[in-house]
């Protein structure tokens, strides 16, 4: 509690202590979403930067870890949103009917492409729920949304992925 009060008052030592205590958790959470060490490090710093700037609004009765994770999720979504504009979304690949030695790799690439077409919010929900298998409650808390919203997002992500993959000639 003292640390949180200190943070709220702009005490750099309190901020440093909290940073060192939670940087690993924040990094790990972001890493699950962005899956790139360098980007995850940058976004971890961005997360704490936003926390520091918004410190006066923090409710010291609340849990710092949960708040940090929520900020981290928003930072990751913002990153995906900005990176999405830079990504070259490829045109539909021609489907190959014949078996290929590299078929698994090709399918993997198509899944990645289909995934890149999802909106940032659907991407985050899908990767956390389906790939990382995080509990829906945990994802809901990190996104600041009800569990039902997360279920809907995952459902929509799966439906869109299936459609995209079918267009690419992959029938899940």
């Amino acid at each position: 509690m003292e640390l949180l009060e200190g943070l709220k008052e702009g005490d750099l030592d309190a901020f440093e202590t909290l940073f060192r205590q939670f940087q690993g958790d924040v990094y790990g959470w972001i890493m699950q979403v962005v899956r790139d060490r360098g980007i995850a490090e940058d976004l971890t710093i961005e997360t704490f930067w936003r926390i520091y700037r918004a410190r006066e609004r923090f409710d010291t009765e609340g849990a710092f870890g949960a708040w940090a994770r929520r900020v981290a999720t928003n930072v990751a979504i913002d990153h995906i949103r900005s990176a999405r504009n830079m990504e070259q979304l490829p045109e539909q690949l021609p489907s190959k009917e014949t078996p290929d030695p590299a078929i698994q790799r090709e399918i993997r690439e198509k899944v990645e492409r289909a995934f890149l077409r999802l909106s940032p919010k659907l991407r985050v929900a899908a990767i956390l729920a389906l790939v990382e298998e995080r509990p829906y409650e945990e994802i809901a808390s990190a996104l600041g949304k009800p569990v039902g919203v997360i279920r809907t997002r995952v459902f929509r992500a799966v439906r869109q992925l299936r459609k995209q993959l079918e267009r690419m000639g992959v029938t899940p």
């Binding site: 940087q23 690993g24 710093i45 899944v111 992959v170």
Partner: protein, 77 residues
Amino acid sequence: MRHGDDKEIQRLLKEAFPPVDRELRRDLWPAMLGRLEALDLQCAGTTGRFWHCCVSGCFFARKGFCNSFTSCEAEEL
């Protein structure tokens, strides 16, 4: 959507996105501190520019006032 479809999409996603190492390998505090210091410098710069503008403003306003006063005196004479 059938539950099987769901599982199949999940399997494909897991293959496309293999597990990642989630452990932080270095302390990020020095980088964080650098960013905070940059903010301080930026703020100091902004504050400095603000005071510079205030002082300059006062100087020119005073000068303008004095000039107008002098010209008024000259007119009276």
